[in-house]
């Protein structure tokens, strides 16, 4: 990215200057110069397009891990006010609706894990359906699927997947309001038939990790984290149903935008006024897909617990937190001193509520919400804590991952899956996957420096670092 049009607000936040005659809202890029230089120019083009959408409140923003997406950049954040003609955009949420990370803390330490790691990795790989073409054991009738869309993780719990305490540590207690299964197409429902309790492909994973270093002792204590402790992170989303909802509404909203006279700088920004029939239909379908994702991660948690119990009897896996990073959520934020109900789009960005927020479980209320930054399978991941909103400045949002540094095609030319897996094993990281191509595309070197992303996230005031996690074994889709 050429930095010529950017003005430094501080070393970790830059604004896009307006061209003469250019009509759009402000654009803020939370990143230092090094991260910005590594970003594709399309990131700037895409977020500037977002800033032209109707009803935007404040600035259109990107997080430090931003990269080129479709419509919105990945790492894009934008809030819209329904009362001011604000829109909802399928391209602002993405195809994998409510893709997110469930992090589990265990009562195990590095030494206990080490002799059982290989067996555990093998068993998890057998127990967790992962990768293209893999189906789960759960087959739901249309009526049951409707119940999942309404109930989310609460449905899963009611059917024996998980423990009641899990719900306390999931956004919205595992079930978002406003899901309307009738707005989800039959094809979307059919796509989900064999996909409950599956991990998916691409950058999705189930990873066994060890806490390498604690950076914020108070927040770590609140989150129940200690150095050497074993964690499990599950990264996946709403599977086929969510993908089809994204697909269906992309065209529906693109056509609605044309009919309603909304001038789209790019068709992928397909959107409709929140209050329009199409906007309300998408909201109902999107919320249904969010609940599918929450149920899916709940089921995967159950499968992971069963595998751990077989290999390490006495292992306890408690939900640390579950947070999605592809959503549009209705939230109240203070803007110019006044609380406003906003539709906050986070596409590849994590919600990051600060200390004292009423939506947080009592245990985390003093520390702020756990923010999970998933890294690559060879480097590391981070847990951060949300900051007060006046410090965050991005509608309580933060980074969600390392962010890609190169395309999948470039990665395929540079790495071979089998060699990469061998190299990682030599370095003590076990990879289990059916896809050598997928492994190459997900090579650690294809991602940005996750430590720099976490550091910039902290310096920009978006969230503060709590713990660095290192991968030990990874089931990849």
């Amino acid at each position: 990215m050429d930095l010529a049009r950017l003005k430094e607000i501080n070393p970790w936040c830059h604004a896009l200057t307006l061209l003469p005659g250019e009509a759009r809202a402000p654009v803020r890029l939370y990143a230092n110069a090094e991260l910005l230089r590594g970003m594709d120019a399309k990131v700037l083009e895409q977020i500037a397009n977002v800033a032209r959408l109707p009803g935007l409140v404040g600035a259109a923003m990107t997080m430090p891990d931003a990269h080129w997406g479709y419509g919105f950049p990945i790492g894009g954040v934008a809030a819209f006010d329904a009362e001011a003609g604000g829109i909802i955009s399928a391209g602002g949420v993405g195809f994998d609706i409510a893709c997110g990370i469930r992090c589990l803390r265990t009562n195990l330490d590095r030494a206990t894990l080490a002799p059982r790691l290989e067996r555990l990795a093998d068993l998890l790989f057998r127990a967790i359906p992962a990768g293209v073409g893999e189906e789960g054991e759960i087959k739901l009738s249309p009526g049951e699927l409707d119940a999942v869309m309404r109930g989310g993780a609460q449905w899963a719990l009611g059917h024996g997947y998980g423990v009641a305490a899990d719900l306390d540590y999931i956004e919205e207690r595992g079930c978002v309001a406003g899901a309307v299964p009738a707005e989800v197409s039959d094809l979307a429902k059919r796509r989900q038939r064999g996909e409950m309790g599956t991990l998916g492909s691409g950058n999705h994973y189930l990873e066994i990790q060890v806490v390498e270093r604690i950076y914020d002792a108070a927040a770590a204590a609140a989150y129940g984290l200690a150095e050497g402790q074993v964690l499990v992170s599950i990264h996946c989303g709403s599977r086929g149903l969510g993908h089809q909802v994204g697909t269906d509404y992309l065209l529906t909203l693109a056509k609605a935008a044309g009919r309603l006279g909304i001038r789209l700088p790019e068709r992928e920004l397909a959107c409709a006024p929140i209050k329009s029939p199409e906007g309300q239909q998408y909201l109902g379908a999107m919320n249904a897909a969010i609940n599918i994702a929450l149920a899916n991660r709940q089921i995967l948690t159950h499968l992971a617990r069963a595998a751990f119990a077989e290999v390490l009897p006495g292992a306890e896996l408690e939900t640390l937190y579950d947070v999605s990073h592809n959503t549009c959520k209705v939230e109240t934020h203070v803007v110019d001193g006044k609380p406003r109900r906003l539709h906050v789009h986070r596409k590849g960005a994590t919600r990051a509520f600060g200390p004292g927020h009423a939506a947080l479980p009592a245990r985390y209320r003093a520390a702020g919400q756990p923010v999970i930054i998933g890294g690559s399978m060879g480097t590391g991941s981070w847990i951060l804590a949300g900051n007060p909103e006046e410090q965050n400045g991005a509608f309580a949002s933060a980074s969600h991952g390392a962010g890609r540094a190169m395309s999948r095609h470039q990665a395929l030319r540079k790495w071979h899956g089998r060699e990469l897996i061998h190299e990682l094993a030599v370095n003590g990281i076990l990879i289990r996957t059916r896809s050598m191509r997928g492994a190459a595309e997900e090579a650690p070197g294809a991602y940005k420096d996750v430590d720099l992303v976490a550091d910039t996230t902290e310096k920009a005031g978006l969230a503060r670092r709590v713990a660095l996690l290192r991968p030990k074994a990874c089931v990849k889709g």
Partner: protein, 137 residues
């Protein structure tokens, strides 16, 4: 001479290209480009049949609709598709595809979630149709 299938760069996802002397052929090759990301199409046994019918006057929206209907049908029936046919009559598109249920011996690539409107273009140049878009993986 034109390459029937190609790919173009995109940070997080993948750009696919299908080419042909007819627009239908370009769309068929675009579908092959998508499904070749999931497996080696040469290994796919063509014993199951999928029918696709839709109406769309806009050629670019038609490309996205075609690809997404194929992806949707394949996923809903747990199939991998390996051969594609499409005919156009004005705004009416009639297509089909053949493939088989996923099985252990098939190479596993990456799952394609959907075709997007990003990088979307259907053009004709020097007698060759080209259909392209970014697909989400």
């Amino acid at each position: 001479m034109h390459e029937p299938i190609a790919y173009f760069e995109h940070d997080a996802d993948m750009g696919i290209v299908g080419r042909g002397t007819l627009i239908e052929e370009a769309f068929e090759n675009a579908a092959a480009a998508v499904f070749a990301m999931m497996t080696d199409l040469g290994q796919v046994d063509l014993r199951e049949h999928v029918v696709i019918e839709f109406e769309e006057a806009d050629a670019e929206f038609a490309l996205v609709t075609w690809l997404n209907l194929l992806l949707g049908q394949a996923r809903s029936r747990a199939l991998i598709l390996g051969r594609f046919h499409l005919r156009r009559d004005g705004a009416r598109w009639s297509g089909s595809a053949e493939g088989e249920p996923w099985r252990a011996g098939l190479e596993r690539g990456v799952e394609v979630k959907g075709a997007t409107l990003t990088g979307l273009a259907v053009t004709q140049r020097d007698g060759i149709w080209e259909a392209r878009c970014v697909v989400d993986v």
